[in-house]
Symmetry: C2
Subunit: 120 residues, 2 copies
DNA sequence: AAAATATATTCCTATATCGGCATGTGTCAA
DNA sequence: TTGACACATGCCGATATAGGAATATATTTT
């Protein structure tokens, strides 16, 4: 086997930098393919291919408007990724909150004692 | 070109299901390679290769203990992924709050103008 | 209907896997 | 030093890309 198919796995679909750019672009609002092409300076076939992957993974929605096709990001499809990564959040956010706690404790102490210098 | 190298991009490294399993396993605490092999029922060379990718992307740390090697997940390396995905969070978690906002805006308008019908 | 416009698809090539198998490397024990 | 044990790496084959160029499909306009 080679790598997993991008068309079936959101993680793989999102692994592509250009596709991430497209999603970022289309989350603000609908855009037609041509607009994406000019915005990201990619070849039109390349954009169409990426859009296909994003479509098949449910990461974008499309609606037709005359001979244009309007794409927009379907954010909820990213939830699995978000949930998975969030599992690990506590393993680094605690470091930050620990710093915050120390800082707040220090401020509180300053308020109480009147000191204002940094003591280790 | 083919796909981007898994060894240089965290997104690609994490796109592999087995590697995600390994990260989930190693975030709880250190494990030696053999333990990963038995826990995930993979071949040892396969595990070693995945660990190499995870190592080179900074997703795991390793320390030697005798002839064993102890690996653990380096959660902060996942922050870029988390930050990127979080950008889209408001586009689904706000579906509820958006309804709330609309309702509140409508109420506010009603209070101000006395109207009560929905106008776009 | 024919031309023009907007997208999508196909074909091709180079590359990067992933798994399986064999082998190499490093460390501890006898 | 010679084994034994724990991992890592190399080689192979099959597959899935991503980009570029050319072509096909769909829709509007003339």
């Amino acid at each position: 086997m080679a790598r997993a198919a991008t068309t079936s796995d959101v993680f793989n679909a999102v692994a592509e930098p250009r596709r991430r750019e497209i999603l970022t672009l289309l989350v603000v609002g609908e855009l037609e393919v041509g607009a994406i092409v000019t915005a990201l300076r990619l070849d039109q076939p390349s954009v169409s291919k990426h859009l296909r992957v994003l479509r098949e993974t449910g990461l974008v929605h499309m609606r037709r408007n005359g001979r244009h096709k309007l794409y927009r990001t379907n954010a909820p499809a990213l939830q699995p990724v978000h949930e998975w990564v969030s599992t690990f959040e506590r393993y680094w956010s605690n470091q930050l909150s620990r710093i915050k706690e120390r800082a707040e404790a220090k401020m509180k102490q300053s308020r109480e004692t009147g000191t204002s210098e940094k003591e280790s």
